[in-house]
Structures are given as structure tokens and as C-alpha cells.
Symmetry: C3
Subunit: 267 residues, 3 copies
């Protein structure tokens, strides 16, 4: 499968034109960052998490994001309830298995979600994808320390088990669906020094998946876009504080033409 | 009713002098933004939300903010409990009906709050005020998309039903109390690209309502102040990231004289 | 006890080398700020708060932070559960008694924590430490207004009661253990205009306590480091917005040599 950079540019353009509504049931550490990233690209966030309203909210949204950071049993229940509704209505569901290797509770919760719901894209770092694929990958803190020996194999296994596109963040991003692999070489190491980068990227993938029916293309476009924004952001940054601000500015200001010119894909 | 810009300047001056304590039972997406906005103007935030302490906390605060973003039944119960206490003690209660049109649960919760408590100011966007007034205004995401046909009529109706001052944010802000209408023409479209602007504005109105006994004047002063800060913030901004930072700086640095000179009111 | 500035520099150096994993059960207002501060110094945050996973998470972390802002009964239970586990495994436990004087519920919760757990460092402002020591210190809002008459005596009393190092933030920081007192004269008044400074400092102390076995030295090092970052941050700041960004940049960029040269300790 060859994805043209022109497709990425068109996807970004359509997000900016159509203002997709993204319902994110996301952790409370980075919820503000996620909302700001969505606003910056022209999408409209809504963060409802109560069982009493998630079905109604998701039915008015264009896509549903499940982010399992700061999980608790009630939240997991709300995720399942809204996720069923999204599946029934044909809205894409995007999963971020934050820290899935860090506790039995997270692993069980994510496994329950995966067996109950049809997921369009799973976005995680190498340790999270490795842990979910059952090929190792341990977590210390919320970031990957111990990575699985063969991330390509882990992502492929997980894609086959779940039917989802697997988007793996790292020094080199990978997007995997069955036998197809695209690697995205945008990004900057500074992105590892800031909280919420992964959560923001997952939400951006969700917004892109509203306007691009092939979730593989949507994930590649979002990862190239987000990584390129990181490259632009670092140019004027003095550290992770100014980097994070510049990133939001870059998410807002980057044109489809700049994305087309700057995206670095490799089949 | 004619409000003099000199009154606005004096209100800002008094906030800076007296450091009002603002108890905000606010959503967890923008709680940090709200706290930072309050700190920037010299107020002191406290964000307690547990039933076990909200009455005691509100009794030591100068004003109580109810923000129904990310609602759940326990939070609504705590809002009512603290709200009764604030009413009994004569502290103003300010309501932000975030996303009230987005779910039956939010609408019911806000209606319960409105029938149980005496509210000094309700601050919302056009869709929220329209939905509450029962004159239409649908929500997609957390921002207004479908606005009510006649926002003046909607705000007037809501003010008459509740006795509250209605502060409506938008391209042109409106402050309505019974038959009185003041419009505030400060602000910048960039404010719609950043999360938490409405929540921050509501909290600023609350701080102003501590030092200015007429909630109509307090709301007009806060909206002119906040909108003017937005105008100043955008001058050096490259996007919503730097805009948000500049806004906090402007909230902190703006002098009463600058507010007096920059406020754009229209009766 | 004389602490050499060379020790502070070495402690910072070791944090940057070893990337300590900090489990913070912290309030949702400033959780993002805490995570960003930890990332900026090279530590790895994890913010789990559910009873279902805190023991497992804390057992994989290097240190445990209890921050009682936005408390509720379930969170307090999770703090105790994770705290026992940390104590059993010999991981340091750091306590931030946010707003402890603001409600009976917070005071009771903190007292329960103090009687159940062995705490290495308690970090609070003057009012919080005074309230905990039982020598007065009332809170209005989340910041100290009424300070205890003799903060040295209050900190000494609290240290003797708990066995913990007491780190008191203020215009002049104090670090007290039994009869030992070190004062740290770094910092800037702007730090009082920004939300989450105390929470961030507590987390930085926790990261330092992983690599420096003497919690007195760790607390002094962290307070000098954080205060000096504040001094650097204010130089280019136009207000609390840009100050907060510059602070994260300074936490990231400051070298051990700069800390050694800039630390202002007084026995």
C-alpha cells in the first residue's frame, strides 16, 4: 500500500473545513491538553465521562476516543457503554491503552474493551503495544522503558487479533494493518519530555478518522502531521515548556501544503 | 442603565486590592486554567468538590462558582449542598451551564440547580443560553454550533425566569438583566480556538462579583476586562498556544486605566 | 549540619541520569503541571489513583507522592493503601497537605495519613505547616493568609511528632529535621501568582529523594533548584503565563553547575 503525501494534505484540509466533534473519555491529567490540541486543529472536543450522559453525547459526536489513563471501574463501564453506542451507530472508536503494562487492572480493562468493542485504531508507544500483543514490553512510569524485541511482529499480531490499525509512537512511528506497514519518520525527541503528547496524538488521529474513511490513511496522516508539528515547534523552543506552546501553535498554523512537503513516509 | 467605564476600572482595582477567595466546583478539564486565571488577577482559588468538605470551604470563601462541565451525580449533589450554604450566607453563586444542551442529564442537573438555588449570574455561550431559555440552540461538541434565532429574547426570558443576570459570550457579548441590556464589544475570534476561555471568564465574573455588589456591573466589567485581555494577547500570538499564555500575562498586567480606555460598551 | 552546594549539584545530576519513577496520587487541578515538571527534570510520572491498581503501580515506582488537594474518601483510602505498600517496600513517601487548614475533612484525612504511614518529607506553605503543627495558621483559599506566629517552632514540633523532614515554602524556604534547620533563599514572589507551584515542588522533592538517601539533603536540593528555576524564569516573563512556561524550560535546562553557583543556603 502506497500512501501519497497529497492524501495527507487533503485529510488535514478536510478536518479544518468540517470541524469534527470528538468525544474523548480521557484521563484527567492531560484532558486539557487533548482539548487544546483538538481546538487547535479546528475540531470540537467534548469530554463527558458519566454513565448518565455518555451514550447521548457519543451519539451526537463524530468519533469516540477511549484513553485508559487514570482508570477506575466506573470510567471503564462508561467507556464500554459509550463504545457500544458508537459501534452501533458506525462511529469510529479509537483506543489509547495508556500504561497498559503498568497494572493487572489496566490490562484486564483494555482486554475487556478489546473483546467488547470494534476498534478502528489503537495508538500506543512500543511498550504498550508490546504488552497488549503479549510479546513483552514492560512499563516503568507511564513511558516505555523496556521495549518489545520485535515491534513490527508485535504490532502485526495485535492488528490481526483485533482487526484494528495499530499506530505505534516512537523515534520512528509505525502504522500497521495486517500485512501492511508504513513508517512515519517525523517527530523530535523533545516530544518525550512533555506530558500528554501521546494522548494528544490519539485525539488528532480520531479527528482525522472522521474525515478519512480508511483508518490506515487517517493514522498515517495524523502521525506525520503531529510529528512535523513537533519538528517545527522545537526550532524556537528553549525547553519542554515553550515546546508545548509552540506545538499547539504549529498544530493550528501548519498548512496542508506544508504537511505535504514535510511528511516523511516509508513503506 | 448606563455603566461608566470608570466603574469597570474601579472594580478591577478592588479585585487586585482585596484578593477575593473563589470556591469553584468546576470541571477537571479546565480546572487548572480557571485556577491560573484567578491567580493572575490576584484572586485566590479553591477547587474542593467532595460533599465531605464543600460546605465548610464555601463558608470561608467569598463567592461560589458552579461549572457543570464533566458532571456526575455526586458532583451535582455537592454543588447543591455548597450552593444552599452560599445562599444562606449571602455569598453570590455564579453558574456556568457548560454544554447544557448536550445531554438530558446536564439539562436536568442545571434545571435542578436553578430551581434550588438563587443564582447571581449565569454565563454561557449563545447555544447554552438558548437551550436553557427553551428557545432552541443545539450543541455539537462543547461549543455552540446552532444558535438560537433571537439571543436577546432568550437571555431576557432566562433572566426573568431565574432572576439572574445573564452573561452571553460570543462575537459580541451581551449582559442582560430583566429589560436592561448592555453589549460588550471586546474580544477576539482566537478565543474560540482555546479550551477553557468560557470557564475562565465565569470565574473572573465571580471574583468581580465579590467586590461589586451589582452583578450586572460585575459581569460587564469582567467581560470587558477579559475580552480586552484577549485583544492584547492576540497581538504577539502565533496561534492558540502562545495566545493562551499571553492572555494570562494580560490578565495579570492590565491596569485599571487600560481597562477604562479599552472597554467597548454599548447600551 | 552543613550542606554543601556541591551535594545539591550531584543530586540534580543523579536525577537526570537515573530517571526516577514517581507515582503521584495528586489532585486533578494541577496533575498536568506536576507531570510536566517531573518530565522536565528527567523523571517519569505516573498518576494512578484507583484502589484497583495503586499498590501494583507503587510497587513499580521509586517514590510515592500523596497530595491531598481535591480530596475525597475513596482517594484517601487509595493513598493509605498505596502508602502502606510503599512503606513496606522501603520507598520514600512524600506528603503535600494542600489546604489542610481549609476543612475538618482535610485535617482528619491528613492526621489519619500521618498516624498510619511513615512519611519522609512533608512539604507545605506556612499556614499548612502551622495548621498541622497545631500552632495556628488559617487558610483562606488555597494559599496561606494567616501565618503561624513562629514557623520555626511549628516546623520543629511537626518534625518531632512525625519523624519527617518538614519543608516549608515561602518568601524564605525552611527545611527542618528535629533540631536542624536550613533556610533556602532562592525563589521569586511571582511563584505565588501561579497555580501548582507547591504541587510541582513537592514532586521534585520526591524525585530528588530517590537518588539522595538523606531526605534533608534531598529537600534542600530540590527547594534550591526549584527556587533558582523561578529566579531564572522571571527574567524573561511578562506575567504568570510566560513565567510558568519559562519555569518548565528552566527546570529542564539548568545544569548542576548553575545550581551549585546559584543556590543560596543558610544554616
Amino acid at each position: 500500500m502506497t500512501i501519497q503525501t497529497e492524501q495527507l494534505a487533503q485529510t488535514l484540509h478536510r478536518v479544518r473545513q468540517t470541524h469534527p466533534v470528538v468525544h474523548a473519555l480521557t484521563n484527567w491529567v492531560t484532558a486539557g491538553d487533548v482539548a487544546n490540541a483538538l481546538h487547535a486543529i479546528g475540531a470540537r472536543p467534548i469530554m463527558a465521562s458519566a454513565l448518565e450522559e455518555v451514550e447521548e453525547i457519543v451519539s451526537r459526536a463524530d468519533v469516540f476516543v477511549i484513553n485508559v489513563g487514570t482508570p477506575d471501574p466506573l470510567r471503564i463501564k462508561a467507556m464500554l457503554s459509550a463504545g457500544y453506542c458508537a459501534n452501533r451507530l458506525g462511529r469510529p472508536v479509537i483506543l489509547d491503552p495508556v500504561g497498559v503494562g503498568a497494572s493487572r487492572f489496566r490490562m484486564d480493562s483494555v482486554q475487556t474493551i478489546l473483546s467488547a468493542l470494534r476498534i478502528a485504531v489503537i495508538r500506543g508507544n512500543r511498550a504498550e503495544i508490546g504488552a497488549l500483543a503479549g510479546t513483552g514490553g514492560q512499563l516503568r512510569g507511564i513511558d516505555s522503558v523496556q521495549e518489545p524485541p520485535d515491534i513490527h511482529a508485535a504490532a502485526k499480531t495485535l492488528s490481526q487479533k483485533t482487526g484494528a490499525v495499530i499506530a505505534v509512537s516512537g523515534a520512528q512511528d509505525l502504522v500497521v494493518k495486517g500485512e501492511m506497514i508504513v513508517s512515519v519518520e517525523n517527530g523530535h525527541p523533545m516530544m518525550g519530555q512533555v506530558t500528554g503528547m501521546g494522548c494528544m496524538l490519539t485525539a488528532v488521529i480520531a479527528a482525522f478518522a472522521v474525515v478519512e474513511p480508511d483508518p490506515m490513511v487517517a493514522a498515517v496522516a495524523a502521525m506525520a502531521f503531529f510529528g512535523l508539528a513537533g519538528e517545527l515547534a522545537v526550532q524556537q523552543a528553549k525547553g519542554p515548556g515553550s515546546f508545548r506552546i509552540n506545538l499547539l501553535d504549529a498544530l493550528y498554523a501548519m498548512t496542508p501544503e506544508e504537511l505535504k512537503a514535510g511528511a516523511k513516509l516509508k513503506d
